[in-house]
């Protein structure tokens, strides 16, 4: 496995001249994937906490999942977040034809749908609070609210990122750097939708039919 000196005594190359040849975009994309792994571990921990606290002892006499979940309401949120990803992806498709307006339109569409998602979620929380199902009521409700709100915070962060990208696409056009950021944002956005799918199945559907 180790290099041997050739019989003719000629040495292998010792130095590599010129550019190192590291691809900056693939390096940054790998870094972003690694960040997504750590983020998915955060959700993993929260799902585990929810799994532990989703049982009668932790309801503490308060409402359980069957009382607070509504699969149809959450289905509206699911539709909103999935179409938001669709809008964003259509926007990134427009990058292929260097269509700046198409990219901007896709981002704006994704933002509008994300705002609808957050509005539905806020409304859902407001209804629960009105019925006395608050964050402080029981261990189960704490796990429910914190899990959903952490996802909501990620969505808000995505919205902020999209707003910044709107300005940057407008200002710098579709340069290499900007395209890389847009693609990483798409990864982030699709990941949030995937997390929501897990939330919908594990929290809402499982809760309603438990």
């Amino acid at each position: 496995m180790d290099a041997q000196v050739p019989r003719d005594g000629k040495l292998p190359p010792l130095w590599h001249y010129g550019h190192e040849g590291h691809d900056e975009i693939s390096t940054k994309t790998l870094g972003f994937w690694l960040y997504m792994i750590s983020d998915s571990l955060i959700f993993g921990g929260l799902f585990a906490a929810y799994g532990v606290l989703d049982q009668p002892m932790s309801f503490a006499g308060g409402p359980g999942p069957a009382q607070i979940m509504h699969p149809v309401a959450a289905f509206g949120q699911t539709l909103a977040v999935l179409t938001s990803v669709l809008a964003y992806s259509l926007g990134t498709l427009a990058m292929k034809t260097n269509n700046k307006a198409g990219v901007l339109l896709g981002i704006v569409g994704a933002m509008v749908l994300a705002v609808i998602f957050l509005g539905l979620e806020f409304n859902d929380f407001a209804v629960l609070y009105a019925h006395g199902a608050t964050l402080q009521r029981s261990g189960f409700l704490a796990a429910f609210f914190i899990l959903i709100a952490t996802h909501g915070l990620h969505m808000m962060f995505g919205l902020l990122w999209m707003a910044v990208m709107l300005v940057q696409v407008g200002r710098y056009g579709l340069s290499k750097e900007i395209v890389m950021r847009l693609l990483n944002l798409r990864l982030f956005w699709q990941f949030q939708a995937s997390v929501w799918v897990c939330v919908y199945i594990y929290v809402y559907l499982r809760g309603t039919f438990s």
Partner: protein, 688 residues
Amino acid sequence: MLVDLQGPWSPLFGRLTLASIPYSNPIIIFAFVFTALAGLAVVVPVLYYRKVGYIFREWLTSVDHKKIGVMYIILGLVMMFRGFVDGMMIRTQQVMADGPHSPGVMEAQHGYLPPSHFDQIYSSHGTLMILFAVTPILTGLGNIIVPLQIGARDMAFPTMNAISLWLTAVGAMLIMASLFIGDFSDAGWVGLTPLTELPYSPSVGVDYWMWAIQISSIGTTLNAINIITTIVGMRAPGMRWDRLPIFTWTTLSTNIIGLTAFPILGVALALLGADRYLGTHFYTAGLGGNLMLYTDLFWIWGHPEVYFLVLPSFGILSEVIATFSEKPLFGYITMVAATFAIAGISWAVWLHHFFTMGAGPWVNTFFSVATMLVGIPTGVKVFNWMFTMYRGRITYTTPMLWSVAALILLLVGGLTGVMLANPAIDYTVHNSVFVIAHFHCMVLLIAFTIFAAVIYWYPKVFGYKLDERNGTWFFATFTAGTAITFTAMFGLGFMGETRRLDYLYDPSWQPLLIVEELGIFVYVLSCYFFCRMFYVSIRDRNLNRCGADPWGTSRTLEWMTHSPVPFYNFAVTPHVNARDELAFRRSVGADETPPDHYEAIHMPKNTMIPVLIGVLAFGFGFGMVWRIWWMAGLSLLGIIALVIFRSFVHDHGYLLSGEDIARMEGKASQMSIMSETQDEMAMAEGVH
């Protein structure tokens, strides 16, 4: 306010009042005076020699991985000293407070520390040693050595690297602040729930502990992302996976653990934070809380964290032992396999930290077997090191002394660990100081390899060797202190002494407690020799200047560039042809063959943003601890604004021309990590 604070609160200062400053406690006054004098000893010379600009330009705003690594290690050593003082105070309290007739001084009934103060001291001892001493030092070593070992110019994300450093420093500063403003957690370094809940720990102590760990562990996660990306994406041509040096392999595996484990700690602490700030019931004793949830989440991080610390130590052992045995490392492939086996198993053993907390026989059996499995790859490693030494030409330099002693500690700590992995034994000795002695053997093994690494790589970074004579004394006293203190502690464990006692009820423990205290005195001697080692080495630095390979028998890539390493690392990127590239080049007589010409190098520019983020993160942490909402909120907004601002700055660094490199290579032996690189940057061709 969502929670009942049991005390005053004002919008401007939060919970902070003048009464929060413990100026009536003589121990804290002494600590404050000592810290202030130490701080002045640093600040006054900087002001006197007008070096503020230099410190700011060359260090605080630096993105150079070597300088960041050096700052990490200095931070870790300072915190290790404070952790040692805590340990000294714990030992002294216990030796004074043994038996009903033991005297009490100051406010204490027995010994000199009242219980709440004693509890804070062992909590900060554990927190500091694990998270703010050993972790930053190993991170710093990885920062300095890994890019050099793989032939990279810098880390993959130099600015993020500096952000990681400053977030870690903020955590350490919060703990230092807790010494003088308010108090620290008295719930142990693991944060025993529900004791950490607001009704039972109403002061800011737990908040300090929680936010210090939370902020610094974000730094550690970012650093893990950075190192993994660097190793995967920035290797020099020819540096195939099967040629990667073992230290780089272990750093890779350790950071995979760091990347996946620290977010879990983040969740565990964030849920505790929700309980304390929002009034939720995750870990409370009532209303549906579940304290086992915390225990599990904490140790799902906590056990991988142990291997997060020990794996780089194994990497250091592999490098040092191969170098000073003048042989290639025995069993390279098994070493890599054993590293990843340990990293993998580390995820399946966390429950052995609480065998006695009612998990049931089958669960205990699973985790017991998994824990014992760790012994197999670790045994493979020990035999590999022994076979590397076998029939080698061993030179007992100080790094080698530390390494051999570390192997013996690994044996003692490892065998007692296998004992503890058996639940039947664990039921007898759990929570006794036998467990404490066991894990101190393991963590001291890490400390031993840290000292080996610092002495081994010091000439690479600073250009001169450390004094071997004082280094040997440092080694001898530190090892003697370890042996005396912890042998006695194993005995006390068998005699039934439980951990965390501020008062000991059994006078028959007195003799062994005195032996432990003697061990601490020997440790104090070792501190003297440690300082003297640096003092003599720095004083005589011009007599001990060294070339690229100060040890003469080094094997890996980092020893091919100058000592001290120039800020651009390698003038020309090396082409790697063998696993031990330098040993290969030496064997074919090419180890001194320089490149025939130099080409321009692209370098990142220094930036203020990381240190500003650090300042704001401190504001956020301090604001959250004292519930000064405006301060925390503005700091958080400031951090977000800085990150957005940075994304608009198109800073592509600068280009160092081939002629400049040739000129600097000519005088490389006079350059040092301490000298100004700004002049060189000004001469560079400017931003492109």
